[in-house]
Amino acid sequence: MKTFLETVLAEADYQPVRLLKILRAVQAHYRHIPETAIDILTDKLNIPRTQIIAVVEFYSFLHSTPQGRYDILFSDSITDRMQNKESLLSYAAETLKVKVGEVRKDELVSLNNTSCTGMCDQGPAGLINGYPLPRLDRPKIDTIAALIEQETPLIDWPAELFQVEETLYKPGLLLTQPFSNGDAIKATFNRGLTETLAEVDLSNLRGRGGAGFKTALKWRTCAVQAATPRYVICNADEGEPGTFKDRMLLNLYADQVFEGMTLCAAIIGSTQGLVYLRAEYLFLYEKLQKILQNRRDQGLLGSNILGQAGFDFDIEIRMGAGAYICGEASAQIESLEGKPGIPRTKPPNSVICGYLRKPTVVDNVETFFATTHIAIKGGQWFADVGTPQSTGSKLLSISGDCARPGIYEYPFGTRISEILSDCGAEEVMGVQIGGPSGTFISNRELERTLAFEDLSSAGSFMVFNKTRNIFDIVQNFTEFFAHESCGFCAPCRVGTSLLKNQLNKIIDGHGSAVDMEKLSEICLIVKNFSHCGLGETAANPILTTLASYPELYVEQLKRSGFSPGFNLDATLAIARHLTQRDDSGAHLSQQVEN
């Protein structure tokens, strides 16, 4: 083990910030993180063993007990469930003779669920030893089972099992732009750095990761900080269930993303960039490394980039290890420093005090992609599209009940109904916009628009038709948040688990009227008192469906549970307040049991 660890440590330059990289290598080799490895790493990296244990326990893809030599995970997104994932999982368990959540006695195979793997357009999907298995069906599971029993190395498996498709149904403003490597960097230097930042400002581009912070303002704030070095981080931890547009961008447009990072570096004065790539996208790692190498060879990364004396910048890819919370910028920074992904306290913001406590710009993949084209075409070109508050276009990952799931690009301000007809959605019951942390809209609200000022989305767009049960959706999302809560703060740590149990009680038909009251009450605490965005949005699936379909919740209640002292309509006041609705659909008359 010592020699193996020495190699791994050497590859990581003995840097504790690369702890995840080191542990991922140990996990891949020993199928878990053995105690002895922890001892050695504590010693060699000079960090407390508690830090290593905390990291191992925090990330879903690191384990303290051995997993199977073939470790299979089924993506448990709601869209996977809608594509028969549950029955396939049972079939896999039966075929492979292993229980879900367990390791087979001979340690050949282990099987479990995992949060959305970013393949909702080609589900039901799985992962085997970290590599994607899209479009699973029974014949494929038979094939996989046979390969496993024969102990065929993964490298010799048929490539089509792993084939990820990128279907661009509607390329728009950005996806159709011509581009050659270096175009944006040249444009930036020809125009001037300050002038290019002014163009980004003029474009009114807002961060595509969800929060919608103005990009130019973030860059400018970072650039004026006295502290150095400054860092550029590309957030490729696309973990929101139902989103996969960053996967597509990195798969097909990586150069344009890296170029956006590079011009950001020029503007803010940074020499080091990091890409935080979600563990589920391991299949992209080698490809991206090659692209980076190619860019170095072309003089687009490294020293004196494109002949600009003194402009040095390079990019390192660091992999996550399975934690949704690491999509939050400060949690991501913690993770990049080799720690559990726990969101930091603000102030100070990461722009001022980020990676290694230095000024840091963290932007989404799509944001960097957009800045590349803004640098080439100018800010006005971008600002002319969309709405005044939401300029430009937005990439959507469309999945669920529609004929054409895949990638779409729309100008902001597009109506939801138009998007639904483009993707071939019929008999729509509702749409989840922005993933579980976003908003559920019913089919009465389809004339609303895609925009920061109406329905904002980091990219997830899940369609549900009228055959779907709303509680299947809410239950899946609520379980997701309880599973992904980092556990740092009390309201979210305890509250998301309470919510899950309370919701299940009602769904299972054991809830009485007072349980509805408690459900709303927990929602409110979790939403208003949590430390970060995860907790703030974890109650959204319940709150938004409660607002759209109060009658369905009421139908779930035990009839005998109605007590005269309980005012149903008053209970919904919280939900009305939070969703800012007061229409008739958000009110209930007290139902009297006969």
């Binding site: 001892d39 326990e57 925090f58 559990p340 992904e484 009390a490 740590r493 605490i525």
Partner: protein, 238 residues
């Protein structure tokens, strides 16, 4: 920078670098808290100290005081939420106050009294947690840990040791000990350490000191936490 701010209409001074909770404490205004202790790096995890600052929800223990801030602390809405959060902490672990050695000296219990907590309100998780009695002088009853991180900080910041850590995710959080076996006896903790004294609940106890002060005569049996917490306490970091 120094100046004044108001908390519930009372004007109080603050000095450069103070957080809202510290400015309040210095002025004798109690803001409920569990994961905060003067002198230690603020943590901001229990959320009991949540206040409204100019209408915005903030943690008083981490938020910097600034000139002219209007802070709402003692509103019905906030007290109600604090009560619910405290109840969440009670149902998350296993707290049987009548049989706990810390009863009367326990901040969690005292905060419960302060908030008029009469029941646990939420269903219990009945978590399976262990007791580590391995150390000759110190006992850890994990059933009572609320993950306030104070022992972690005290060990690192005051004792210079790093005996404790918090691992796990979500509801599976757990306190861990920095020793090859994971047991306290194999760590370098000693009974004089600040980390041993700082625990706000009965999770870390010193052996053979039990019931020296009889129940009824203990700190919060005598005085409500709202009057004690503003004074300097033994467990404050220096």
């Amino acid at each position: 920078m120094s100046g004044t701010l108001t908390i519930d209409d009372q004007t109080i001074p603050f000095s450069d670098g103070q957080t809202i909770i510290e400015a309040a404490r210095t002025a004798g205004v109690y803001i409920p808290h569990l994961c905060h202790r003067p002198g230690y790096t603020p943590h901001g995890s229990c959320k009991l100290c949540t206040v409204k600052v100019n209408g915005r929800t903030c943690s008083a223990c981490t938020f910097p005081a600034a000139e002219g801030q209007k802070v709402v602390n003692n509103s019905e809405e906030l007290q109600e939420a604090r009560l619910r959060i405290t109840q969440m902490l009670f149902v998350e672990g296993n707290h049987f106050c009548p049989t706990c050695e810390k009863s009367g000296n326990c901040e969690l219990q005292a905060v419960g009294y302060h908030l008029n907590m009469l029941d646990n309100h939420f269903p219990h998780f009945y978590a399976h947690r262990k007791v580590d009695a391995s150390h000759p002088d110190i006992l850890i009853d994990h059933n009572r840990c609320i993950f306030c991180n104070l022992c972690v900080r005290a060990s690192r910041e005051s004792d210079g040791k790093d005996v404790f850590g918090i691992a796990g995710r979500g509801i599976h959080k757990r306190l861990i000990v920095n020793s090859p076996t994971g047991q306290l006896k194999d760590s370098n903790i000693s009974v004089e350490d600040c980390a041993v004294q700082v625990c706000p609940t009965g999770a870390i106890l010193v052996k053979r000191t039990g019931y020296k002060t009889p129940i009824g005569g203990r700190i919060y049996d005598q005085h409500p936490i709202s009057t004690i917490a503003c004074k300097k306490r033994e467990t404050d970091a220096t």
